[in-house]
Symmetry: D3
Subunit: 146 residues, 6 copies
Amino acid sequence: MILVTRKAHFNAAHKLWNPQWDQARNEEVFGKCANKHWHGHNFELWVTVAGEVDPDTGFVVDLKWLKKIIEDRVIEPLDHSNINLDVPFMQGRMASTENLAMAIWDQLWETLQHPRYRLYSLQLFETPNNSVTYYGPGFGGLPPAP
Amino acid sequence: MILVTRKAHFNAAHKLWNPQWDQARNEEVFGKCANKHWHGHNFELWVTVAGEVDPDTGFVVDLKWLKKIIEDRVIEPLDHSNINLDVPFMQGRMASTENLAMAIWDQLWETLQHPRYRLYSLQLFETPNNSVTYYGPGFGGLPPAP
Amino acid sequence: MILVTRKAHFNAAHKLWNPQWDQARNEEVFGKCANKHWHGHNFELWVTVAGEVDPDTGFVVDLKWLKKIIEDRVIEPLDHSNINLDVPFMQGRMASTENLAMAIWDQLWETLQHPRYRLYSLQLFETPNNSVTYYGPGFGGLPPAP
Amino acid sequence: MILVTRKAHFNAAHKLWNPQWDQARNEEVFGKCANKHWHGHNFELWVTVAGEVDPDTGFVVDLKWLKKIIEDRVIEPLDHSNINLDVPFMQGRMASTENLAMAIWDQLWETLQHPRYRLYSLQLFETPNNSVTYYGPGFGGLPPAP
Amino acid sequence: MILVTRKAHFNAAHKLWNPQWDQARNEEVFGKCANKHWHGHNFELWVTVAGEVDPDTGFVVDLKWLKKIIEDRVIEPLDHSNINLDVPFMQGRMASTENLAMAIWDQLWETLQHPRYRLYSLQLFETPNNSVTYYGPGFGGLPPAP
Amino acid sequence: MILVTRKAHFNAAHKLWNPQWDQARNEEVFGKCANKHWHGHNFELWVTVAGEVDPDTGFVVDLKWLKKIIEDRVIEPLDHSNINLDVPFMQGRMASTENLAMAIWDQLWETLQHPRYRLYSLQLFETPNNSVTYYGPGFGGLPPAP
C-alpha cells in the first residue's frame, strides 16, 4: 500500500450565501464572502489514490490517466466557472470549500475505485492559507478526547 | 538607493469582456475568461519602493506604514470584490491583469512619492503561472533590438 | 467528518539550552542552536480542526473566528517574542519545536473542543526544511513494526 | 508521540522501462518517460520520524543526526545519479517514484528504529505536481469502502 | 510599457562535459555533474514579454498564444529529453543553464518580436536554489564598478 | 552578459533599536521589533552575479565556488547569530534588512569582482512577505518622475 498524489488547479468565482437567510443575515455571517457580485480564487486540488504497485509498470496508477480523469470530471466543469451558478454538481449546495471538496469526492469516487487502488483523500486549497482535507464519508467519528 | 518590497493579497472575481464586441467575439478572443457568470483569482501583489535609507531607523520606509497604505488604497477596494462591477478605479477599463496593475500604480503613486523614496515597481500575479510587472509610465521605449 | 486547516505565522527568537547542563555540554549537544545570544526563525503554523459541516453555513468552523482564536491564544504571545524568556506557556520547558507544538496544542485545545468539531492536528515549521506534526496526547503508541 | 519531518533533495536521471517489454510497448505505456536517452528530476524527499520527546533535549531525534543519516544512506547514492544504472538498491526494480520511495524506506528503516522513535513515513516528490507517500509495509489494507 | 511573464516547466537529463577535456579533467571541474550516466532536473522557465497594452483586449499578448509558442518552440523539444543528445538547438554547446537560457532565447526571439511588444527576459531555474536570467544579447557591458 | 543567481539561508535573531533614543521612542517607532529580548527570522538571500560565459565550462561562475564564497563570507558569520551582538560587520549599524543587505554586499563585493563577471545584485528576504533588493552603491539616483 502506497499513496500517489497529483495536483490540479482551477480558477473560479463563488459567494457564500444561504438562500434561507435575508441579505443582512448573510452579510453578518459571511462578511465580504457574501458580496452579491461574487469574488473568486485560484483553487489548488491534491488528489490522493491509495493502492498496491502494479509490478509491470511500477505504478499504482498511471499519472497521465489520473490527470485526465481529474481534468474531465473536476477541472472541466469548475475551471473559469461560477461555482454557485455554473457547476451542475454544486446546485443546491452552499459553495463552501468543505462542500466543494465533498462534491469533488463524489465526482471522482466511482472512477477511482478498482480492485488494486481507490481514491484515498482530497486536499482543496481555497487560498494558500486555507484548505480542507477529506478522507471520504467512511472516515468518521472523532477520536476519543484525550 | 535600495529597493524594499512588500507582498499583499486579495481575492476577486472578474471577466474579460470588451463591451464594444458581441458575445461571440468576446468568447472567441477571451475563451473561458469571458464567462458571463465571472471567474476569479487569488491575486498576489508585490509593491516595491526605491529610496535612500533613513539613518535614524535603518529603513527606506516603515513597512507597517507601507502595509497600511497598500491595505487602504488597494486591498480594501479590491479584496472580495468583483473587479468589473465593484472597483471605482477600474470602471470603464478592461479587467485584464495589465490594466489592473496600472490602475494600482495610480492608486499608490502619490502617497509613495517622497523626497527620499518613491514607488518603483509593482508585480501582480493573477495565478502562480502568470504575472505582470509595471515600472510606471516613465519606463518606456523598448530597448533597441539586438 | 472533514478537516479544515488554517495557516498562521510568527517570528521569534529562541535558544536550545538545558539548564541542568553546563555550557560545554549544551554546545556539544545543541551546537550553534545554543548560542547564548539567541537566534530566531519565521515559524509557520498549520492548525487543523476536524468535524462535521454545519448545514446552515457549509462550514466546519468559521475561518474568521478560527483565525482570531489562533491570533489571540498563539500569535499574540509568540510573535516577535523570545520564546525562552517572554512566553508564559513555555516557561520551564526546553524551547524545541516539539515542545512548542505541544504547548500550542494546550493553548488551543479547550477553545477548539465543541460537540461538532475539535482540534485535530498542528504542524509547526521552524524552517522550510524542518517541521513537527502533533495529533495531541491521544495519538499514541507506535504502530507495530512491520 | 509527535512526528518530526526533515526535507532533503537530490537531482537524478531515470527512465521508465520494463525490460520484459519491447520498445514499442514501453513507449505505448510510458510515453516520453521511456526516452532511451533518459530524462530527470529534482526530487524532494520528506522523511518523518515518530516518537516520544527526550526530556533532556526536547527532541524526538537530533535533526543534525537525522540529516546526516539521510545524507549518507539516501542522498549520497542518489544525488546526480542515473537511478536505473548507478544506484545499488534500485537494481532490478522499475525506476518509478513508488518503487524509489519503497527502496528509500528500506535504506532508512533499520537506522531509524529505536525504542523511543522510528521511521513513520516518507513523501517523495518527483515534480511539484506529483508525489508518493509511504507509511511502510505495515500500512496495509485499504480502509473499507464507505 | 509593461512586462508580462508566463511560467513553464520541463524535465530533462543532462551532463556537464567538455569534449575537449579527458574524463579526469571533466570530473575535476564539474564534479558529480559530469556523471557519464547523466543526471536531471525539473527546469522552471519564466518568459517575460515587454510591450504596450492593446486597448481592444487589455493584453500585451494573449497568454494562451504565448503559452502555445513556449510549448511548441521550447517545451516540446526539451521536455523528457536528454539535453546533450536529443535537443537540436543544443548540439555542440555545453549543456549549462547559461547556455540553455541563451539557446531558448534564440528559439523564442523571432516569434516574440512585434511592433507592439517583444521578448524581454528569460529566467531559467535548474533547481529552486539556482537560476540564470538573460536579457538578450543587447544587454551588455557591466555597469561601471562603483 | 547573463545573470546567475544562487539562494542561501541563515537563521538569526535581531532587534530594531536606535541607541540614541530611549526605550519609549524605540518602542513607538519599531513596535514589537524593538523587544529587548530579541526576535528572529529565517533569512533567505539571493546572490546574483553578472558576466560573460566562460566557453570552457559554459559557466559565468562555478556555482560550487559561489556557494562556498557565500558560505564563508555571509552564512558562517550570520547563521544562528544575534545580528546586533555577534556579527562583526554589523557592529554600530542598525540591524534593519536594508542595512544588512548593504553590509552583505560589502562582504561579497571584492571576491566577486573579476574581469569576466561581478556581483550584480542581492535580494534579502526577512520574511516571505518582506524583502530588500540592492544593486550596489553604483545604482543611484531615482529615475525621473513620470
